[in-house]
Amino acid sequence: MTAAPRLSIRGLRCAVARWPALDLAAGACAALAGPSGSGKSRLLRAIADLDPSEGELRLDGEARSAFAAHRWRRLVVYLPADSAWWAERVGDHLPAVEPQTLAALGFAEDVVGWSVQRLSSGERSRLALARAVALGPKALLLDEPTANLDAATTAAVEGVVEERRAAGLAAVWVTHDPAQAERLGAQRYALRDGVAEAAEALA
């Protein structure tokens, strides 16, 4: 008997797109590509239950409907392209972040005292990743997390996710970069005409 996949999707349907089937084992990764505006972000939001959707989603075999909504979103964390920062200082947003994660992303520990106002967009997206993994999610939905980062920082971000995957995290990346999907060793999916299908190569 095989263990249930970490994250499994059957017949997910949101307002603009569908994802008929996906199975991600612990530590596995899927890359989703598709033209901009085709609904990739909406699919990730639907998986995180931030938008109304139909379909059967399971985490370690347990149905999404069995989780309180905020509990599900704490385990299946959606990392949007534009991160939200509502308090004054960085530290107010990440209560228990590990120093080695911050170091891997190029921050010293004193970053928690920084004012959010002064962060660059690249710093924001890296800190948003640190904040998301600090929650200890079982699945992470990344919406083009490296779109505005240089090669070195992209490698750092990939490295942090890799490390978490080694500990069992399942990841879904939205990325336009075939080389990135290659590096991640991801199952590839392409969103065409509103349907996410397994693809041989990313267009």
Binding site: A48, L50, A68, H70, R73, V77, D82, W86, L135
Partner: protein, 265 residues
């Protein structure tokens, strides 16, 4: 009617009205552009107050619970419509009208009934001379609190939707994600009445107390009534605001704790 009350004659009102007309004339001569609206507002004051005076005279003559309750219901519905009209982004469907109306009903009516039955204790408790002005003052102030706070809440949720969804995406419950907006909304609903209490008697003589003194009530008796009314208004506004903000915040999220701005028009 107290013995000292000096009844006003038509001539008295006519002279005051002529002064308003003079002001309008000056505005017209000086091209200030407010003469017309001044006159219309003046005429509306006369007509509306005469009508309500007639209604109250009739109501006082037929002081049955049925008529008093009907009057209260009409006042509540008008206040509910006013709350809805003041919303920049109102809830779609019945919620747009029902939310504020329900909050005002819960707070104003229960506070009014409590004040009449337990504190002022007129005989019978619904005697319109007490019930209608009391309910009117409660509804008027609660209406302001509810309208301000719900407007602030829905507009705040709209402006800060990315922050709210960002917090939801990190697994925060809806109550935590909306908390800052709810704090702001409750505050803006309550601040006017808190300021009014703080300034009462120093910056302004409250209208009700002034009216009672003009009508011949001894000032200290008028003051006691004013204190009671201030407290009742505060309680009514406070509970109305809390109820409206809670209901509205709840309505902004669905059963899966998603932010549903599509429920606003």
């Amino acid at each position: 009617m107290s013995p000292q009350l000096i009844d006003l004659t038509a001539l008295d009102l006519g002279i005051a009205g002529a002064l308003v007309a003079l002001l309008a004339g000056l505005s017209w001569a000086g091209r200030l552009g407010i003469g017309r609206s001044l006159l219309i507002a003046g005429v509306r004051t006369v007509v509306q107050l005469l009508l309500v005076g007639l209604v109250l005279e009739t109501l006082f003559a037929h002081a049955t619970l049925y008529w008093v309750a009907l009057m209260g219901a009409v006042m509540l519905l008008v206040a509910g419509r006013e709350v809805m009209a003041r919303q920049k982004r109102r809830f779609a469907g019945l919620w747009g009208f029902g939310l504020g109306t329900a909050a005002m009903f819960l707070s104003s009516f229960s506070v009014a009934v409590l004040a009449l039955a337990a504190l002022v204790q007129p005989e019978p408790w619904y005697q319109p001379q007490y019930a209608i002005p009391l309910l009117g003052m409660l509804l008027g102030n609660t209406m302001n609190g509810v309208a301000l706070s719900v407007d602030r809440l829905t507009d705040g949720a709209w402006q800060q939707r990315e922050l709210i969804e960002g917090r939801l995406a990190l697994g925060e419950p809806w109550t935590a994600a909306i908390e800052p907006v709810r704090y702001d909304a409750t505050r803006s609903g309550m601040i006017p009445i808190i300021n009014a209490m703080a300034a009462a008697g120093i910056v302004s003589l409250p209208g009700m107390m002034t009216g009672q003194i003009l009508a011949g009530t001894p000032p200290l008796a008028a003051v006691k009534y004013q204190i009671l009314i201030m407290f009742l208004i505060t309680v009514g506004t406070g509970f109305g605001t809390l109820a409206a903000v809670w209901l509205a915040a709840r309505r902004l999220f669905d059963e899966r704790e998603r932010l549903r701005l599509d429920r606003l028009t």
